[in-house]
Symmetry: C2
Subunit: 241 residues, 2 copies
DNA sequence: ATACCTTTACGTCAAAAGTACGTAAAGAAG
DNA sequence: CTTCTTTACGTACTTTTGACGTAAAGGTAT
């Protein structure tokens, strides 16, 4: 017996009509705060179960635009750095019965197709500018440290791991400049690199490499209020943004 | 007025029922022959129009398996090196009217959805082992040199460019060993690298780098019948395959 | 056969990049 | 004013990369 007024039922009916079946988007939204790399997770209504934000692609909508929309709705940000990184297309990506039981939704209301292929995007956002916003399926939206993420619904732990691997690869090629505020200090950038890479770096060598790359410009101000010697502020040169 | 006996109509009816709508797979099959990097293309029936091999994903089939199937059917190979490299998801990826006109198929028979999102895979295959096989929509299947590909149907020229970019990135990280026969000489490997990268390499430095990496083992035989000094044969060590 | 040419299979050397570690100046705390 | 931590820069050594040298192998022209 289906409750046609249940918000999930209404949502999935709408999705069924307007969106592409069997296909979804999952977003790994990375932020950096208090020297930790974090991801934005959602807690499903009336449960203690968490998942990544996700959504569906409208029939006439570009996939990139759909990803933009999904991330924008959770963060409130409109200028986003988004990177498509992998398609998760296994016929049996995760234990469906288990997952739908954990969401505490009546299974027949949400199972709108037998399986879902998910396109993974990661976003790099400035932590302080984000307003974490749950959707109508979730009670809570907040940051979790990347190395302390709970056991998630679907195969979302795996998706986060693959996203982190892609991010680590990316950081070797080009400096990553969307996770910090516009101005920052070299030591702050070093903490970011260290948490993404997962190992410590030598401050002297990091300084040499990053300044030597020519991607940054030093401002005349220094960061005030630090307990020690005040570090200079830097910003990425325009062509590196 | 639709001709329900037209093979394209029958195929798309079957696809409509058994496969996932709006979603397809395109395969860029790379081979290496006569010092040239080549891709396998299909010529559509009764036309001079070419495209990449592609296909659809069955409702309960893993995406990787579907890609495997598509490439296998065109090449006859069953052990394939396949790499998913990008999703082409623009709402308006290509000029649909133009493309369907060029295929010389009655448009309403083949337009089974408004747009298609395509998952791009590239395959690295041993040229000599491939038996190029057209399908029921195409008259001809053959190799084209990568730098002399004609104007293709759909957005397939773009897909090839993105695939080549991904391959170039991959070759910087790890040696590529699926495009050559099991045994090969260092100069042959160098020609492969040169055609993938698109610029010449210094033979002395290439030798040093590739032998120094420890990925190869030298056999006692040399390549006979060369016009000059007979080069040693090498093969990839097991753990690099 | 022998001179000649091309290619292979190494080697040499210098520049550049990466890694380890030294240290003076700045700023806070006792 | 001493002590401690951190920044900002420096020095020295090692590894990697890039330019180029060369002897041996194998064919071709005479």
């Amino acid at each position: 017996m289906i409750d046609y007024n249940h918000p999930a039922v209404r949502y999935y009916q709408e999705v069924s009509e307007q969106c592409i079946h069997y296909l979804s988007i999952d977003g790994v939204i990375f932020g950096f705060h208090e020297n930790q790399l974090k991801v934005l997770l959602l807690r499903w209504k009336n449960t203690t179960e968490w998942s990544l934000p996700g959504g569906f692609i409208r029939k006439a909508e570009s996939v990139d635009v759909a990803a933009q929309r999904v991330v924008q709705e959770r963060t409130g940000l409109d200028k986003l750095y988004l990177q498509q990184f992998h398609v998760f297309g296994e016929a049996n990506r995760y234990d469906q019965a288990d997952t739908w039981a954990r969401t505490k939704l009546p299974i027949q209301t949400v199972k709108w197709s037998e399986r879902t292929i998910s396109i993974g995007y990661y976003a790099l956002v400035e932590h302080s500018k984000v307003v974490p916003t749950p959707d109508f399926m979730t009670d809570e939206c907040c940051w979790w440290p990347i190395d302390n993420v709970p056991s998630l619904l679907f195969d979302h732990n795996n998706i986060i791991n693959v996203a982190l691997g892609s991010l680590r690869k990316q950081i070797e090629d080009q400096p990553i400049n969307h996770l910090l505020p516009e101005t920052f200090t070299i030591p702050e950038l070093q903490r970011l690199y260290e948490t993404i890479l997962g190992y410590p770096l030598d401050a002297r060598n990091f300084y040499k490499k990053i300044v030597g790359s020519g991607a940054l410009e030093r401002l005349s101000e220094r960061r005030a209020g630090t307990p020690h010697k005040a570090p200079y502020l830097y910003r990425f040169k325009a062509k590196h943004l």
